[in-house]
């Protein structure tokens, strides 16, 4: 690029930059007229980064906007503009011309004709059934050869547009004229002319390999059946003749094109094209101008269609039809040719990579299992004791402690089970249980805590909510940094391993270790003494017992087996030892789940915060009047009131967690360390090993897993709508 060009681009680039910054500052100022500090901070940050990068870093503006990239930017802007304008313009135009229907029916008919004609011919051309009308696709060959060759050479823009344009002009103009005529015979005549012209052109340009040899029996039968159907349907709205003509025309087309075999013949198939097109055109020409009442009825019905059409159309094409097709694919073999029944599903549930229960007896020998059983017993005993105290007889009385212990027990038990049963299916289950539980609990806790904070409530909430803005890929990279394990002897760059190794060093050192032991012993002793006091005076000691367990365990570890990352090497020296968070099975799964919990907690927190604020204050005040403590009023008043919100949060998160893919792909290296999940398995099978039937089956299983959630949502919505 010459120096003049570079200068232009440089100026453009600088101008764009200044414009963007100015626009940004302006909109920030508008958005925060009352919060100048926030606006100032954000704009200052943006400016600082831009300056740092462009000026200090030495990236020249012409470098960034260098030739090819500028082209791509312009091309992108162009595509964006065109697509946006097309879509919005389309609907504005469509609505305006439906409004037209009331006033100028003939213009409206003309436009309808244009759309139908363009659509029909465009569809035929898209099916590669028609050769080129005027454009030369292969100039070196003769005209007739163009009807034999496929469009392998490409047909270019004009090739795509010529047939639809022709159809639009022919049918649009024709229908417009038709509606202006008052005499039915004249209308039918014009319609016949249009149909004939269209039919002749189509027939002459049909590709030679796609010309049907008329199977007269099929044609006659199809026409009669079509006509009869048309009459039956038309009778209901009083338009019998139109129905007959339309039905007959469609029937003839089906008989002539679908039911007749394609032969390699040179005969131009006039019969199969002219007759249907004439019949259909005459069907449109039968009625003249409709009555005002008919027009009004048409308007109201068309309106709903016009408003809902595009959205529902997109839904159908992009969601409903593909989903159905996947369901069908899941019953087919790898290439999608033949049906194999439930083979794919069987394979999914029997393959060791998906369902591996071979080590299930290990559950009962794991530490987690014992902890779960212990907590279960604690929960039962506390409930029993409260029951005896409250009711004087052997009964169970639930309370925060016992419920908490039981829930913890269930959670730890699920981890114990799912860390032994391996395979993608159980991994997914593990993800769902862990992430949903932890994110909900932490989100709820943070919402409550933030509510009570005296200062910085919004800041705290923003910071916890911020990870939601980062992509899952970015989050995986962020946490991969933190899980980094460097070889022993080098500085640990990841926070977790740094803490772990430092802990190991600490618990093996001389004086610091003794100091910690002394402090822990003092703490444990004081806690024990407090607990004894409280037991004697019948006051709650839940929090204290938790502290006792933690400090007691730490004390034990510091005195005895030490705590932290270290090991003894061959020479008997103590060397640091790291934890390979992402590769050590099976708990590398849980370290990946931390990433999703990190992101989803903000979501739960925001929703719970709003829900808690929406609890009517009268409820809380009434509870206070009755003498409830804060925790009592939370568990007995607030929590039951926000139960519907809890349902929404849990169901939304279940759906999102089942779909987890990015984290395992980026941080978990696509599941090769026993941390594969269904979404990754589906991706690998469908797009890498190209076993589409199996991949489809996995997708269907994922769908079935979230189906209960869908049903629950529908049920709720239906209840609300009534």
């Amino acid at each position: 690029m010459d120096s003049g060009g570079i200068r232009v681009i440089f100026v453009l680039g600088v101008a764009t930059l200044i414009g963007l910054v100015g626009l940004g500052l302006f909109s920030l100022a508008r958005l925060f007229p009352k919060r100048p500090v926030k606006a100032g901070v954000i704009s200052g940050f943006v400016l600082l980064l831009l300056i740092l990068v462009f000026v200090t870093g030495g990236v020249s503006v012409s470098d960034f906007f260098g030739g090819e990239q500028m082209e791509r930017v312009l091309e992108m802007l162009g595509t964006v503009l065109v697509s946006v304008v097309l879509c919005v313009g389309l609907w504005v135009v469509l609505n305006i011309f439906v409004s037209q229907a009331e006033r100028e029916w003939s213009q409206f008919s003309g436009l309808v004709g244009a759309i139908l004609g363009a659509g029909l011919f465009g569809l035929l051309r898209g099916n590669r059934s028609l050769g080129p009308l005027f454009a030369d696709i292969a100039p070196e060959f003769g005209d007739s050869d163009a009807l034999i060759l496929s469009d392998a050479a490409g047909i270019g823009f004009l090739g795509h547009v010529e047939w639809p344009l022709f159809g639009a002009l022919l049918f649009g103009g024709g229908f417009f004229i038709i509606r202006l005529l008052l005499n039915r015979l004249a209308r039918l005549g014009v319609a016949a002319v249009i149909g004939t012209v269209a039919g002749v052109f189509v027939a002459q340009n049909t590709k030679i390999l796609q010309r049907p040899e008329p199977d007269w029996l099929a044609i006659i039968v199809a026409t009669i059946v079509g006509g009869a159907l048309g009459v039956a349907l038309g009778r209901r709205s009083g338009r019998v003749e139109r129905g007959a003509l339309l039905g007959a025309g469609v029937g003839w087309a089906i008989g002539g094109w679908l039911l007749s075999p394609f032969q390699v013949i040179i005969d131009v198939p006039y019969i199969s094209t002219v007759v249907p097109l004439v019949l259909v055109s005459m069907a449109f020409a039968w009625q003249g101008q409709p009555t005002p009442r008919e027009k009004a009825r048409f308007d109201s019905r068309a309106r709903a269609f016009v408003f809902l059409g595009p959205a529902l159309g997109f839904l159908l094409v992009a969601l409903v039809v593909p989903a159905t097709r996947t369901a069908v694919l899941s019953f087919q073999d790898r290439a999608g040719d033949s049906y194999v029944g439930l083979d794919n599903y069987q394979r999914l549930f029997q393959a060791e990579s998906s369902v591996d229960v071979s080590n299930w007896t290990d559950i009962f020998s794991s530490r987690l299992f014992f902890v779960a059983v212990f907590l279960l017993l604690v929960g039962i005993i506390v409930a029993l004791v409260s029951g005896i105290r409250r009711n004087g007889s052997t009964s169970f009385e639930g309370g925060p402690t016992s419920t908490g212990a039981l829930m913890m027990s269930a959670f730890i038990f699920s981890i114990a089970v799912l860390s032994v049963l391996r395979g993608t299916f159980f991994n997914n289950l593990w993800w769902v249980i862990t992430v949903v539980t932890v994110a909900t609990v932490v989100g709820l806790a943070v919402a409550v805590l933030a509510d009570r904070a005296v200062w910085g409530q919004n800041l705290a909430k923003s910071l916890i909510f911020m990870p939601m803005a980062i992509s899952l890929v970015g989050a995986s990279i962020v946490w991969r940094l933190q899980y980094q394990a460097r070889p022993a002897g080098r500085t640990q760059t990841g926070a977790l391993n740094a803490v772990w190794v430092a802990l190991g060093r600490l618990s093996n050192s001389g004086p610091p270790r003794f100091l910690i032991i002394v402090l822990l012993a003092a703490l444990t002793a004081w806690v024990v003494w407090q607990i004894v006091q409280r037991v004697q005076t019948d006051r709650p000691f839940t929090a204290l017992s938790i502290v006792f367990v933690v400090s007691g365990w730490l004390l034990y570890r510091f005195i005895g087996p030490r705590l932290g990352g270290f090991t003894t090497n061959a020479q008997g020296e103590l060397v640091p030892e790291t934890v390979q968070f992402l590769t050590e099975q099976p708990f590398n799964n849980m370290w990946l789940m931390v990433i999703l919990i990190w992101m989803q907690t903000g979501f739960a927190m925001v929703i719970f915060s709003a829900a808690i604020k929406a609890v009517p204050t009268e409820f809380i005040e009434a509870a206070k009047v009755d003498g409830a403590t804060e925790s009592q009023s939370f568990f007995n008043v607030t929590l039951p009131t926000i139960l519907p919100t809890l349902g929404v949060v849990v169901t939304t998160m279940i759906v999102q967690v089942t779909k987890v893919y990015d984290i395992v792909a980026v941080a978990g290296l696509n599941g090769i360390f026993g941390n594969n999940v269904l979404a990754n398995q589906m991706f690998t099978e469908s797009f890498l090993t190209l076993n589409r039937g199996f991949g489809a089956a996995i997708a269907m299983v994922m769908f079935l897993l979230v189906l209960p959630v869908m049903v629950y949502n529908i049920y709720n919505m239906q209840r609300e709508a009534t």
């Binding site: 960034f64 990239q69 791509r72 932490v442 803005a469 919505m717």
Partner: protein, 324 residues
């Protein structure tokens, strides 16, 4: 320490300590906030340290690495490498691709879903309630269920991309949606995003539009406006907050999306930023020090959008979640 005595005679030191323990709001909140912020902070800090520093020292040592007062390992060269046009690891191309996916995928659904939401809310037609429930219940369908056929739709199929329907009992195939050459272009990605965004968009906007006061519409109808006029002149201006919420949501979602982009643009010459940094993360050669800067560049746009327009984002999340 106080002797064992019943409560009303004044609190012992132990009681006060216990109360401090259970009265935990303030400091626990800030511990949680610190834990939540450290990972992203470390990314930001690390992106300004050169390769040497990133490999050998933890990020909190950055204070010793500042240019003048320390070892000078803090630089912006990572950003230069990542952003300059001709470097092999440049993100410039992929930023453009990301934008060309995110913008249409944000604006077009707004247009379509606003129409549909208005239709569901204020145009009475038979089957309205069940159609609406069916539409919104599609929210729960995982992306994966529709992915394989969509990839087939965009080509290169046999003989060409598009929706082909083979008619039973005849050996003929009808092409319903003749699509050509969409494979490997951003259009395939944002068309998919539009389809997937519809249920959520319709749900969100319907929530808002159905709560507009009907007296407004009645008076407009008396003045002779039809549905389209009411929509264009009344509903659309009034629903701008809801539209903004959805726009932000959708923009963040499409900018941060990895699965659809990776599926549709496999092997394409220019991939969006998420795919680029995921590939960078999978390369274990000498470029992992650029990963931090690249990830931060990718996250920069959503973070700015998020922080400036947080109110709308939160409103979008809360739509329909909180009763009353």
């Amino acid at each position: 320490m106080a002797a064992i005595s019943p409560m009303p005679e004044g609190e012992s030191l132990g009681d006060r300590l216990y109360r401090r323990l259970t009265d935990i709001p303030t400091w626990v909140l800030w511990v949680v906030v610190a834990v939540w912020t450290i990972p992203s902070l470390s990314l930001f800090v690390n992106s300004f340290r050169n390769r040497d520093a990133q490999r050998n020292d933890a990020f909190w040592n950055v204070v010793t690495e500042l240019p003048v007062v320390g070892s000078g390992k803090v630089t912006t060269e990572n950003y230069v490498d990542v952003l300059s046009a001709n470097a092999t690891n440049s993100l410039g191309d992929s930023l453009v691709t990301s934008l060309s996916i995110a913008v249409p995928a944000t604006i077009i659904p707004i247009a379509f879903a606003a129409f549909a939401a208005y239709g569901f809310a204020w145009i009475d037609f038979p089957g309205r309630k069940w159609l609406f429930i069916a539409t919104v219940s599609l929210l729960a369908i995982p992306l994966q269920v529709a992915l394989i056929p969509l990839l087939q739709l965009y080509g290169p199929g046999t003989p060409y991309g598009g929706a082909h329907l083979t008619i039973p009992w005849t050996d003929k195939t009808l092409t319903l949606l003749p699509l050509n050459d969409l494979a490997g272009s951003p259009a395939s990605v944002w068309l998919t995003h539009i389809g997937f965004a519809m249920p959520f968009a319709i749900f969100l906007l319907h929530n808002y539009i159905s709560q507009l006061p009907s007296e407004l519409f009645e008076s407009a109808r008396i003045d002779g406006a039809n549905h389209f006029g009411i929509f264009w002149r009344l509903v659309l201006p009034l629903s701008i907050p809801a539209l903004a919420s959805f726009a932000i949501f959708q923009f963040l979602w499409t900018w941060n999306d990895y699965l659809i982009a990776n599926t549709m643009l496999q092997g394409a010459s220019s991939a969006p930023t998420t795919v680029r940094i995921a590939n960078l993360a999978g390369d274990f050669d000498n470029t992992d020090h650029l990963l931090t800067a690249a990830a931060f560049v990718q996250a920069f746009v959503p973070l700015v959008v998020f922080f400036s327009l947080q109110r709308f984002f939160v409103r979008g999340l809360l739509a329909g979640s909180v009763k009353g």
